[in-house]
Symmetry: C2
Subunit: 465 residues, 2 copies
Amino acid sequence: MAKGASLSGFPEWLPEERVVEQRVMDTLRSLFELHGFLGIETRAVEQGSSLLKKGETSKEIYLLSRLQDHGNEADTPVEDMLGLHFDLTVPLSRYVVENSGAVTFPFKRWQIQKVWRGERPQEGRFREFVQADIDVVGNGELPSHYEVDVPLVMVEALEELRELGLPKATVHANNRKLSEGFYRGVGLTDIEGVLREIDKIDKIGPDEVAQLLTSECGASAEQADACLELAQLSAENGTRLREKFDALCARRGVDKDGEAYALAIEGLETLAMIVDEAAQIRPGAVIADLKIARGLDYYTGSVYETFLDGAASLGSICSGGRYDNLATQGKKKYPGVGLSIGLSRLVSYMLHSAHATASRVSPAAVLVAVWDEEHRAGSNAIARTLRSRGIAADVAPTAAKLGKQIKYADKLGIPYVWIPSTTDENGEQSAEEVKNIITGEQVAASADTWTPASEYAERRVVVGQ
Amino acid sequence: MAKGASLSGFPEWLPEERVVEQRVMDTLRSLFELHGFLGIETRAVEQGSSLLKKGETSKEIYLLSRLQDHGNEADTPVEDMLGLHFDLTVPLSRYVVENSGAVTFPFKRWQIQKVWRGERPQEGRFREFVQADIDVVGNGELPSHYEVDVPLVMVEALEELRELGLPKATVHANNRKLSEGFYRGVGLTDIEGVLREIDKIDKIGPDEVAQLLTSECGASAEQADACLELAQLSAENGTRLREKFDALCARRGVDKDGEAYALAIEGLETLAMIVDEAAQIRPGAVIADLKIARGLDYYTGSVYETFLDGAASLGSICSGGRYDNLATQGKKKYPGVGLSIGLSRLVSYMLHSAHATASRVSPAAVLVAVWDEEHRAGSNAIARTLRSRGIAADVAPTAAKLGKQIKYADKLGIPYVWIPSTTDENGEQSAEEVKNIITGEQVAASADTWTPASEYAERRVVVGQ
């Protein structure tokens, strides 16, 4: 990270690190477009009223005020203020409603943008970071095949990032209806409360969650135990999932003729479809994991979290779900399903754990040397010719001794130094040459025809060196 | 613009408009990198203290406060608050100082990012917009050739954007030392005040500026007149510039042996160098125009504004200058020179005046039809094969009638609809075919080998249709 990331939670990268982040963003964008997703960018700010109504993260809003109004902020209720968005889903919902007459449904969109969370400063938590989202939003209805299509696009995206140092990713899926149906089936009523506590299992462990379920959500010890048993359930295919769930319901006395069970089965069948369809295309990439709860309260069906092999401490790096009631306009609903990659956290992992970096700092393949300031125009002309042929070129900042110019190229990782022809004291003109400062090879060359060796032509991302 | 740009000053584009903005950003980035500039991204927020000390725009800061602290904002002085950056130059200066040990000087960087200005809502002014900047920052010193190199990169960049509907651009250059020397030479002392008023000529006209110079800056009628005469001076080469300036100084009685004149000549020679060097490479692209003042007070030498042919009302679309005292660390200085494109305003012009738009809404070249939901997996497999060959493909959202699926493709501008083979009531299998829904041509095809016609392969930006 840039040495002076002087504000806690606001990461900044050095230029050679930014190359990695940029590569990640380019890779995702081009994969999303290969799948027919449309790119949008929404404004960074939303009305306080729309930020406040959705989910837990709304506690962490940064509010804005104009400098001129400083001192009078308290006069304005939060609802009427502007705040920075804390995710890209709430803005998408607003965008879809506002532009419902202008976009085609189902609306498949990708969006890679910064979000802000005004959390307390805390080790390893970013307050400004980039998210990379894909969502599909329907008009009135949304076919359930998108609940497997969308996570599979993310799996493919994360697969592409493995060459940048990312370990294998596995999507863990669950379904809110399944959880809710089961909780109701064992007699619980504070469903949001239970989901919120279950979401903490990985952080605080099952024993503490059991205590919270009894103290906060009115659960008996047996009900709490049932919830934890559900959370321990996982399966790689629909058949095993159905078997395990039915056995659990039988043990816990869930009434198979009740509404709660019917709701659970609705969620179970969607989840079974997801793992079975995904298994046909990418075996093992998507598993059913019934402890996945997602803190945010706008999800209504499928929920997803994604974990990296051997990097459990990172937590979920790509999460989301289906939300049927987030975007509404009068009676009209725009149900959606989407996932969001925590891109900054991923890049931080690539840089610091996988040691990904740029093969060189500068995009330039060539530094054109300058013999003296009077002949700078000649060096500029050589650089122009190279650039017109698509070869990125820089020109030495000063007409220092050639050794110093080569040192400048070396610091920036520029592999070639171009040495223009010059006239010596006897009036003899030297040949125009180019030197590969990595191999030491120096050859006569013309800017009209010379081409860099392919391994030095482009700046790349290299891993673990 | 997206129909519901519901917050005044916060533009949002429709997906087909965003394609244009994205193309502009991609074009600029690749040109900047061709010239060896390094990309960085800085955090969106800066300390109030560092935002406040630089220039006029600091009046328009958006301050941030955490939701939890709402109501108590007044307790915190602005200097200790965080604010959104209003440009990319102040953040660059901080970044350079913080990372001076990690970057190579001269530090050539490009940066394309959003900035925010908490102005009063006002017709046609954006409060959130994208800037595209290049700067070169030296350590201690910065060779003056960058004062012509940097605007020439911007000229080349704007030239590349002409195919997206931009008219020809001309950079108008001036030099603060020239102006200051002349103002002092005619006996004025409130240099910042004079520059601020001169900056208003295009907005309010010379008569009103003359009045302001006398009422606000202590100028006599004759001094005001001299300032306006200087502002009217322009030239396409150094020789004409020197002649005109010397004639003016003689008329206005500027002492040619005084310090003020020497300062003016220092500025004049830099300006003459800029127009002469630029003329050799791109005749007419950079002219000396002595009314260019730049409101921001951090410029110390060259200043630039850029105007489009036939779009004067847009104002300057690319501005900047040399700043010797913006980034400092103890006694150390990091002088820089840079220009900034007001990218959102440019995109707005391209969309609304040049009628640039995407050749199609969706990036997909192919929509794979679905006969029935049971056979969706087969359609998915076809799309996967196409994507593996780099052909962007979408799959129909529902197994509606084929005509409805074609209509969906048509709305998104997807040129090809893939028709998978199917088995009819007699058990006969139909051929797999692909239909170009623009030409109507339909041919048998295999996803392993078929390739779209080149004019339909990629989504492009088209102008004036």
